[in-house]
Each structure stands twice: as structure tokens, then as C-alpha cells.
């Protein structure tokens, strides 16, 4: 069952990297959405290869964004699918349920926003939701594992 899982030793490093990259991406998204001028000034330092007229959101054609998306996805996958300290049937069941739950919640949340948001903002919405499933899974999985461990201690 643990065929697809990474070793436990990568968990802490990947977790720290994931949280940091998530904070940077969220900051970029907010800066880009609400203070375009400021965002351009901060990010233009990293703009090495092009000047696009159309910049929908965090996915600027800049090395800066791509580097953080790369870190976010790689560290997120490793953190999400690393083995737990105690890897047993309960952990497998929790992982399984969390994955299904995150799939359903992510798509339903997206649908709810898709039918109420129109225009250019839809592209920003899709780019956020393309990354959010992993986040929802990690949060749900961690909370459930934490609860289970507390219950076992009690």
C-alpha cells in the first residue's frame, strides 16, 4: 500500500519548504491583485526574459513565480505523500478518505465560485484552484491524523 509514498526523513524539510512557498505565492497573488504597481516594482527585478502586455495574475511570465510554483508543487507532493512515523491501516484509511474529500471539496468550491464570478477574474480563480487541492488534502489529512493520535493517547 505504501508503494507511492516518500520516506519519512523528507517530511520536515518538504513541509517547511511547502509552507514558505505557499506564503510567497499568496503574497504575490495579493500584491498582484491589489497593488499592481508595487507588484511590478518588486517582481521586475526578477524579470529576465520578457515583457508581456497581458498579465492575468500570479502566473506572470517571470522566473520568480515559476521558481516558487516549482518549489510549491514538488515540496507539496513530497510532504503530502511522505510516510508517517506510524504507518498502519488507520493512516492508510485517513489518507484515502482525505484524498477523496479534498477532491470533492476542491471541485465543489471551484464550481460555487465559477458560477458567481465572471470576466477576467475567472482565470485567477482557475490558477488558484489548480494548486489548492493539494493544500486542502494536506490540511484535512494533518488534522485527522492529529485527532486520531490524540484519541489514541487518551
Amino acid at each position: 500500500m505504501t508503494f507511492h509514498l516518500f520516506p519519512l526523513k523528507y517530511k520536515t524539510t518538504s513541509g517547511v519548504l511547502y509552507v514558505l512557498s505557499l506564503i510567497v505565492l499568496a503574497a504575490l497573488f495579493i500584491i498582484d491583485s491589489y497593488a499592481d504597481g508595487l507588484g511590478n516594482k518588486i517582481i521586475s527585478f526578477f524579470n529576465t526574459h520578457r515583457n508581456d502586455v497581458f498579465k492575468p495574475n500570479i502566473f506572470y511570465d517571470l522566473f520568480f513565480d515559476e521558481a516558487f510554483i516549482l518549489i510549491n508543487i514538488c515540496s507539496g507532493l513530497v510532504y503530502a505523500f511522505s510516510k508517517e512515523k506510524i504507518e498502519n491501516e488507520t493512516t492508510v484509511t485517513i489518507r484515502y478518505k482525505s484524498l477523496i474529500w479534498s477532491f470533492i471539496i476542491n471541485y465543489l468550491l471551484f464550481l460555487l465560485l465559477y458560477i458567481t464570478i465572471y470576466g477576467v477574474a475567472v482565470y485567477a480563480l482557475i490558477s488558484v484552484f489548480a494548486l489548492s487541492q493539494l493544500f486542502i488534502f494536506i490540511v484535512h489529512f494533518r488534522i485527522t491524523v492529529y485527532r486520531q493520535q490524540n484519541k489514541n493517547i487518551q
Binding site: F59, I100, Y107, F110, I115, G119, Y123, I126, L134
Partner: protein, 174 residues
């Protein structure tokens, strides 16, 4: 009333036992709806002009409407073509029901295949998405992220059903 009392006093055990799966009877109808709607959606993403003559105009509530040029609307009623919203709702709802419907025989092996397929689909989708982020630029990228959003569900459905088919064939042969 009895049902409400049952839910109230057994809420925790209901949550623990829940497996987030839909009944098997919805599988085929949702499957047909999903295949038809996602085919239309993919054609639309590739060639946006094919539905330019079809419009379903309606007044809808909008949290936000942002335009390239013109006024933005926040928390208001707007008049818009809701064809793509209807299509998106059909793709997502039928896709989720089809993907997470119970199988005819639902046992530990089915759960194992489902879990492995979910993990596999997540790896595959994010790695392909990452490849596109790094090597595709400009307007095409917007289509790619639209694709990537649906391929996650699609990869899972394809992989899961293929593995179930292989497993059933092996069992029958034995």
C-alpha cells in the same frame, strides 16, 4: 423525527464510518453525462468559436465581474450567457459522481486501487502542470491551466477504471 434523533445522537459515528462514496446506481448515468460534457468542454477550450451562435442569456447573481475595459461589478445582478456555467456544472458534478461512485463489489481491493489511482493521478497531474508552467508562456497557458484543472479528475477516472478492469479480468480468468 426519528431519523433526526438518530443523526443527532450518532453524528460522530456517522462521520467516522462515512466513505464519501455515492451509490452505485448513479455510476452509468453520471458516466455518460461526464463523457459527453467533457468532450464538449474540451472542444470548446480548443476552438472557442464553435458555440458563438448559441446563447442562454439570464440574469444571475455575481460576486464579481471583472472586465478588460469597462466597469467592474461586485455583489450585483448581471445579464450574461450562462452556457459555460451550465457546462462546467455538468462536467464537475457528473465527473465527481462518476469518479466516486461505489463499485458493484466494494471491498478492500477496490479501496486499495482507488487510493493508488488517486495518488497516481495527483502525481501525474501536478507534474504535467509543472512542466506546462515552466515551458509554456502567453495566452496558451490560460488554456493549459483550464485543461490541467480537469485532467486531474480525468486521470483518476481513467486510471481507476483501467485498474478495476484489469483486476476483474484477472479474477475471472482465475
Amino acid at each position: 423525527m426519528e431519523i433526526l434523533f438518530y443523526i443527532r445522537f450518532n453524528f460522530k459515528s456517522i462521520i467516522m464510518k462515512t466513505n464519501y462514496l455515492f451509490p452505485h446506481k448513479f455510476k452509468w448515468i453520471s458516466g455518460i453525462l461526464f463523457i459527453v460534457s467533457i468532450s464538449i468542454m474540451l472542444c470548446w477550450i480548443i476552438e472557442p468559436d464553435i458555440f458563438k451562435d448559441i446563447e442562454i442569456k439570464s440574469k444571475v447573481f455575481a460576486i464579481a465581474e471583472t472586465a478588460f475595459m469597462g466597469d467592474n461589478v461586485y455583489f450585483g445582478i448581471i445579464d450574461t450567457n450562462i452556457l459555460d456555467e451550465l457546462l462546467m456544472a455538468t462536467v464537475i458534478i457528473s465527473g465527481l459522481v462518476f469518479a466516486f461512485s461505489k463499485e458493484k463489489i466494494e471491498d478492500e481491493m477496490t479501496s486499495k486501487i482507488r487510493l493508488e489511482s488517486l495518488v497516481w493521478a495527483t502525481y501525474a497531474n501536478y507534474l504535467i502542470f509543472l512542466f506546462c508552467v515552466l515551458f509554456i508562456y502567453g495566452m496558451v497557458f490560460l488554456n493549459i491551466i483550464m485543461f490541467a484543472f480537469f485532467t486531474h479528475l480525468l486521470f483518476f477516472i481513467l486510471r481507476f477504471n483501467w485498474e478495476i478492469y484489469k483486476f476483474n479480468r484477472t479474477t475471472n480468468e482465475e
